[in-house]
Every structure is written in structure tokens, then in C-alpha cells.
Homo-oligomer: 404 residues x 2
């Protein structure tokens, strides 16, 4: 096991152990927000043939139709393919969305036509292609519609429907379990005794994972149980999940339940402790091919650990990139702390007329929850040994996932 590693080392150790998930087929309406399993291409042109954009008359492609007049040879019924071609001077009745015959130059809207027996009279010009939706105008056969790993949005779902794809292959949801360790943590609905606190990391991590597309299979607290009980809980959760997140119990010393429990299962430890702040007390292990990611119990440290170590895994499992989106932004406030390890600051990234601006949220102490509340959508990534940050400085910013 490697101890006190750099973040990128930790991430690479985790990355190498990610198991890709299989596909499952879901009805189109259930596919919203799911990640598509393979590239989808247009199976045919759309429209599949030249179509009329209006109710009216298809007229032949002559450069100039004499006296704005054509002979009507057929009135096409809805649902019928034309079995003929228009010769010069000929016209055929067509309906909106209906196919036009070969030889059509343009379609004259009904409103500007009049009939004299089988003779069509109309006003105005007939620019080539007018009121025709050409075959393949919207999509050509083979066009890439949706790329593997894309989260399906309503527009993509509409397009897949137009091509008749009523079921779609998406990545199976990653199954995630959360285990809260550490002494003195009681479930959210319990009344804590002095010195105890309610579990906020369990619901926090569970819903973060859901937002990354996961199905949460369990949110448990080890409580005051002995270490063998904790090992059993961890093993149970590992059987039901693709990945287990533990939170708390990572501080050095007596309360290092996490490391102990992980070791007891026989899992292979990948690393323990990272050179970042907050979130240094993080680790990872592999048990039966499944990742266990151990995060700190302090809320802000737990959050940073999730975004830097767990979210990338859930992304890759569903065909997306391991690396988060990263931008450069101007920092709207100063940050006085100097030096120390590489630091991740909870922040709010906003676009303004001048460009990207990032604000440091209040409540940065790793024991505090407040920083999680104020629409934090980004982490500022300050290198180790950074001098005090001045207002207006350019910083590197990780954009957090919020697709759901």
C-alpha cells in the first residue's frame, strides 16, 4: 500500500481498477438522464424522401412555367407513394408531410392557387425547392446522433423517437452503498446525545451518487458496534454494490475504523492518505474486483474526496471521462492562507459579462456544512505552497457534476 500519495497517483490507482458496467435496454421515456451505451447513428435519411412542407400542388421543375399554369395529373392521397414522375407542365396535389413525385421543382401552397377543370392556376414565382423538405435535410443516413456516454436529454430522446428507437441501450446504473464509520454518529432521525452528531454524510454522499447516475443500494451507519460487526456490514454492502463509499473513521489513531475494517475484509489496499487539504484522510481498496473508497468524516473533506475520487469512477463506469471539466476563472475574493499542501476550496463559479468569475463560499472549515449549502458548484484547485491568493487572481477551477 502506498501512503500519503499525490492526488494524481491516487486517481491513477483508482482509475486502473474501474470496472465498466454492462448495457441495459430501457424504454425511451425512462432514458432521460441515463448515459447511452454506444454511438447511435441515423439508420436512414430524415426525411426519408422529398416531402411537401405545405398542402398544395407539386409542379414540374421547368425553369419557367408558362402563364403560371400546369395540368393536374393526380391528387395524391395521404399515405400513398407517388408511382409517377412529373413531366414539364404537370402538377400533382400533395399534402403537408406527404411525398412529392420525382420531377417536382417546387410546391405551390393551396392558398395561392385556383383550379380551372384540371388546370392549376397560381400567382407568384416558383423558386426551385420552394416548400419542399428535401430527403435527408434533417439527418443523413449514418449521421452521428448521440455519442457513447452522453446523458440523454429531451432533444436526443425526441430524435431517437423520430427514428423509431422506442428502447435504448444505456449503461446499467452503478450500484453504490454508503457506510458511515466513526464514533458518536447517530442516524438523521435520532436525537443525538451530547458529543454525538447526526449523520449528514450518508444522505449527502447517497444523493451525490444519485446525481452521478447511481442506484443507491444501502446507506448504513456502523455506530458503536465492534470492529467485527463493522467488517460484516462492509462485506454485506460489498455483495450488493459495485462500489462502497465509507465516510469517517479515517483519522489516525484509535478511531481508524475505516482502515481496520477494510483490512479485515482482506481487501487489497491501493493507498491511504493523500497530499491534499481537505480530504487528506482518504483511501481506497479493492475487494473482489470492487472499489472501496474511504472518505473523511468531516463534511467539507468528505465532499472534496467524493468529487476528486468517487465521482470520476461513477463517470467512467457510465462511459464518460474520468477527468472533471476544468476551467480558468478570476477569483472574486482573496484567500489569505499561505503555503501548506494542495488545497481545494468550495466555490461558486458564475459567468458574467467579463468572463468566468469564481467566489469562495463561506464555511470552509472542514468540519462545517455551510459551504455545501451555498450553491457550491466548483472547487478551486490551489497548488501546494501557494502564496496568499489576491482578489482578481486567475485560478484553476474544477466544475462539479450537476447533470441531475
Amino acid at each position: 500500500m502506498l501512503e500519503n500519495v499525490k492526488l494524481e497517483e491516487a486517481q491513477e490507482l483508482i482509475y486502473n481498477r474501474i470496472v465498466h458496467l454492462p448495457a441495459e435496454s430501457v424504454p425511451l421515456l425512462s432514458a432521460l438522464g441515463r448515459f447511452i451505451y454506444r454511438d447511435v447513428h441515423a439508420p436512414h435519411d430524415l426525411p426519408p424522401c422529398n416531402k411537401s412542407a405545405v398542402d398544395g400542388f407539386a409542379v414540374s421543375a421547368d425553369k419557367e412555367i408558362k402563364n403560371h399554369s400546369c395540368r393536374i395529373i393526380e391528387i395524391l392521397k395521404p399515405g400513398v407513394m407517388p408511382g409517377f414522375e412529373l413531366s414539364p407542365g404537370q402538377a400533382a396535389g400533395v399534402v403537408t408531410g406527404g411525398p412529392v413525385p420525382d420531377g417536382t421543382g417546387s410546391v405551390i401552397p393551396q392558398e395561392i392557387t385556383r383550379l380551372e377543370g384540371d388546370l392549376l392556376k397560381f400567382a407568384g414565382d416558383t423558386p426551385p425547392g420552394e416548400n419542399i423538405r428535401p430527403q435527408g435535410e434533417d439527418f443523413k443516413a449514418g449521421d452521428l446522433l448521440v455519442r457513447r456516454g452522453t446523458a440523454l436529454n429531451p432533444g436526443a430522446i425526441g430524435v431517437l423517437a423520430a427514428f423509431g428507437m422506442s428502447e435504448v441501450a444505456v449503461f446499467r446504473r452503478p450500484r453504490v452503498a454508503v457506510l458511515g464509520l466513526g464514533q458518536g454518529i447517530v442516524p438523521c432521525q435520532a436525537k443525538p446525545l451530547p458529543g454525538q452528531i447526526r449523520d449528514s454524510n450518508g444522505p449527502f454522499l447517497a444523493t451525490l451518487a444519485m446525481r452521478n447516475g447511481a442506484q443507491v443500494t444501502g446507506v448504513e451507519l456502523a455506530g458503536e458496534g465492534d470492529l467485527s460487526k463493522i467488517k460484516n456490514m462492509l462485506e454485506k454492502l460489498l455483495r450488493q454494490a459495485d462500489i462502497v463509499l465509507t465516510t469517517g473513521g479515517t483519522a489516525k489513531g484509535e478511531c481508524d475504523q475505516a482502515l481496520w475494517a477494510v483490512r479485515q475484509t482482506g481487501a487489497k489496499l491501493l493507498f491511504w492518505e493523500i497530499q491534499i487539504k481537505p480530504g487528506s484522510h482518504s483511501g481506497a481498496a479493492v475487494y473482489d474486483g470492487k472499489l472501496i473508497i474511504s472518505l473523511s468524516g468531516n463534511p467539507a473533506a468528505c465532499a472534496a474526496g467524493y468529487h476528486l475520487l468517487a465521482a470520476p469512477v461513477l463517470r467512467v463506469m457510465q462511459g464518460q471521462s474520468f477527468a472533471p471539466e476544468r476551467v480558468t476563472a478570476v477569483c472574486a475574493s482573496a484567500f489569505p492562507k499561505r503555503g501548506g499542501p494542495r488545497r481545494f476550496i468550495q466555490a461558486n463559479l458564475e459567468s458574467c459579462q467579463e468572463g468566468l468569475m469564481v467566489s469562495i463560499l463561506s464555511g470552509q472549515k472542514s468540519s462545517m456544512l455551510r459551504g455545501l449549502l451555498n450553491n457550491g458548484n466548483a472547487l478551486i484547485d490551489l497548488p501546494a505552497g501557494q502564496p496568499p491568493l489576491e482578489k482578481g487572481a486567475e485560478v484553476s477551477v474544477i466544475v462539479l457534476d450537476s447533470n441531475r
Copy 2:
């Protein structure tokens, strides 16, 4: 009924008929993305008392403790409130997260202490407040935690958990039904005959509504049925939903199924036709207190109508604002069309180093689906009579909802 109204008139007519939804209580883990029903304030300080941030010894608040030495009067057990106050020169053993006695000046971490009988010896200074998490540091009783109408994100869920709120009151999901009208539309899974097309608006509108928090109670197609059958379908959907969206059948003339069907139900028509492009063939009516919003059958027109007329209703029903988010951005491309009615252009809004940039998507013809696919997240709002838009011009942009 008003005909051919301005967009703002249409919106006001709809706005005045919106019915707010009742609350429902859901478990915290099911509340992700739901809209909270009322402002939630902190019921008590967090932390509820002064707590130790480390395992170690609380020492008295003397300005200067002589010789870095204190007398230990008690070792506090986890879960026990201190029943005493520290006098000058006194110390008490405390645990991480445990309460510290009144009179505590700071907490000395265990690592830098040694014991001589009941005498605590330590190195270094004792700056006031060091290693203490003061009562109310994170939240004060009465602090606003989450504002009515906010979509609950993982951070908010973590904070509500920390305060013991295991259930949360959210707006009941709006129930939305979609009815596809117009001739020649077949279900997505059917094979269209010539002149028929598959229904893409049904799945598109249904998933747009889901993304706005709705529960979709039905997606139906009227098909080739006679008008009394359509009236019956509309009435059935109205019984099951809070709002019905129809799409298609809005063009003037023979195919005006939508207007006919709405009239036949006895619904009160609010308006029909709007002075915008695309989406002019939109209308709205009220039946038994429920809104029917009729959108065009052309995909891009249907999309514009949804975002301008339907999405605002779903937002208000769940405690959010009727008006969408609107920004000013620089247009990255020219748009040659001049004049005509007020126009909404499908676009992609991006933040770049220079500020907000909006790109016009390919496939703007209202019959085309392509514009829905290319991560369109915005509509450019061009006023009526607008001269050709030059590249680099500033435009007003509506940001589309994408919270789910």
C-alpha cells in the same frame, strides 16, 4: 378568446390560471431535485454547544497558563455533558466532537501533552478558541437553510439531515399528460407509411416536463380517429393530469384538430395564435381549472412553445419563478433573416474567457429536429422587425431549464 396575441399577453393569461400544488412529505433521500415547499430555518445552533475539534484537554481561559501546566479535574466520557466549569489553572480531558466545559479557553491536542499524575504538561501556546468549534459556528438558530421553491441538491440534503429532518415537505409533482394531434403521426415504435411520420414530440415533451419536475401521466396520440374520439381522449387525460399539453393539429384549416377538440370539451379558450416565430400556432384553454396548452406540431415550434408557455407553468406550480433566467450575450454567428415577427432562435450559450457567448445551432427550420440535438440550452430572443443580426452583436438570451 383573444387571437394572435403578443407573447407577454399570452403568458399573463396563462399565469393567471396557474394552480399551486399542495405539499407532500417525502423521505430525505427521495427529495433530490424536488422543490421545497416552504422556507426551512435552522431549528437550533449547530454545533449546539462549544465542542472540541480534537482529542485532548480543555484548559481554562487564563491569559497565560503558568509553565504550560494545568491540573486535570475530570476526564469527560463520550456522550456526557460536563457538569462543571473550568477555573483558572484547570483542565479536563475531552474527545473530538465532544462538548467542552464552560470556562474553556482552548483545547490542547493530546499529541503535544504529557501527564505527571493529575498535572497536564504541554508545549506551545494556547491561543483563545484554538481547537474549539464554537456553538453556532456553522449555523445559528433561525438561519435560513433552504428557500421555498429551491430544488434540493445533495448539499442541502446533507444540511437537513444534520438537523434531523428525515422527511421533507416538497411540492407534489405536477401531473402532465401529452396528446399528439395532427394527421399522419404514428407511434415511435410503428413503421410509418409514406406521408406519415413517427411521433417525436410526445417523448420530447414528456421528458422536458420530467426535467421540470413533472410526473407524466400519459403520452397519447389521437391518430386518425374522428373528432369525438379526440375529445374523449382529451377529457380522459384532463381527469388524470394537472395540465395537458397538446402538440400538432394547430395549423389553420382542415387540420385544426386542436382548437376543435379543445372547444368540444367546453374548455374556456384563453388565446389562440401568438405573434412569435416559431411557435405562432400555440394556444391555451382552461377546463375545470386545469390548463390545456396547445403547441405546434413542428419540432422547433413545439420546443419554443414549451419553453415559453409550459415550462413557466411547471416552475410556478413548484414555487419557482414564472420568468426564465435571461442574460445578455454576444452572438458568435450572423443571422441573415430580417424583419418579420419576434423570433426565437435555438442556441448554445457558453461561458468563455471574454464573457457569455451564444452560438446559433444548425437546423433552425421549424420542421427540423437537428436543432434540438446539439446541446441547445438557450433561446435567442430577437425583437420583431430586427435587421439582419451581425456576428458579435449583443442579444437577449433565455436560459433553458436543465436542472434535471
